[in-house]
Symmetry: C2
Subunit: 222 residues, 2 copies
């Protein structure tokens, strides 16, 4: 069986889970406590990160960006990266935006400080980082809302990796109660559409020890 | 004419210049002072980063990762990302390693602190960051050396984007005199081979106002 090594609230692990499920590729999840730096895991992935996908033929694929490019090439039946060159640029541009800019400006400052730091025993959240995260999330939600108002899906007329990259970041933040859905109505409507897809179900049912998500987290109508 | 908006010592701009030249695609360079946040530039690339490529047909492509995927799809004649799925995973894995891990652990701590900070008027280098950069570069040079000893090129039997991603980071650090080439002989040999390619010539001839590179920088035999 295909195995995805992951951490439940890692937005990058979540993105890959969504892509695998949307492409209807069965997989088994294994939690990898990356901070323990297991030698067997580092042999397969010297960067020591999650997610890492291991195919049934033994091919191991680290890095969520590398995994998503691989899945698109290996399993093209449900295309998630656009068809024309221009469409593919836009899908990849927005995916890089959410994986890079959104993560560094928002998710790392909130989820990273409040959850990951505690998980690996690195102390209390830094107040400056939290302030930056709460300030930055506002303009990011506005940008998502603007995209959602001007297009059917974030990168254009078709559902794509860009929607999953964005939804993965938001779902991790939503789990820890850090999303104020009243801030932007079009963003909320778009997220409700993504979250209602069958590929999202397993994510919404996951529970992490010691943290309960807010009531609306698993509610498909909020 | 195709235009690449860049900053001369940005390793990500350098990576794209190497790929364009290796694929024999003519282009014009325009320096973009990203810290000035020009509205016309932000219209094309809301992330406000370099590099950004603008094709003759008007298609604008931001983010060095997105640009390199685009160039491989649009101009496949000189393939730089491997042929089989496994080869492509390895090229992308190493490219992500140099763009992500190497950049954050080394280049940002050295070039970022010593050059970029001064360029944008953000004060003096942080001593802790410099120490981290000089400590981290040693194990990164060892890893490159190990790859170079066990394979013809970093990702396998063919020259690939992984070689350019690594060489771009190293060439930026070499320009500011931060590379001690005595640390790892196989890394030095591999770099001499990459640096001798015609695609590297323009990079080695570039000069940045106020900083002269060490004598060996442009010397193909060191």
């Amino acid at each position: 069986m295909r195995i995805l090594h992951h951490i439940p609230l890692s937005p990058f692990s979540r993105k890959v889970r969504l892509v695998l499920s949307e492409k209807r590729l069965p997989f088994e999840l294994k939690v990898e406590k990356v901070w323990e730096r297991r030698p067997d895991y580092l042999d397969l992935n010297p960067a020591g990160t999650v997610p890492m996908l291991v195919e049934e033929n033994g091919l191991s694929i680290p890095d969520s960006g590398v995994i998503c490019e691989y899945l698109e090439e290996a399993y093209p039946d449900t295309p998630l990266m656009g068809r024309t060159l221009a469409e593919r640029v836009e899908v990849r541009r927005l995916t890089a935006w959410f994986d890079g800019k959104f993560y560094h400006e928002v998710t790392r400052n909130l989820l990273g400080e409040k959850y990951m730091k505690r998980l690996i025993g690195r102390g209390n959240p830094d107040a400056t980082a939290l302030r930056a995260g709460y300030a930055n999330i506002r303009y990011h939600l506005d940008y998502i809302g603007w995209l959602a108002e001007t297009r059917k899906w974030l990168a254009g007329p078709s559902l794509s990796l860009a929607d999953f990259a964005a939804a993965a970041q938001l779902s991790s933040l939503d789990y820890i109660g850090d999303l104020d859905w009243t801030l932007n109505a079009p963003t909320k409507d778009w997220y409700a559409r993504v979250k209602s897809r069958p590929c999202f179900r397993a994510l919404l049912n996951d529970r992490v020890t010691g943290i309960n998500p807010p009531d609306h987290y698993g509610d498909l109508d909020f």
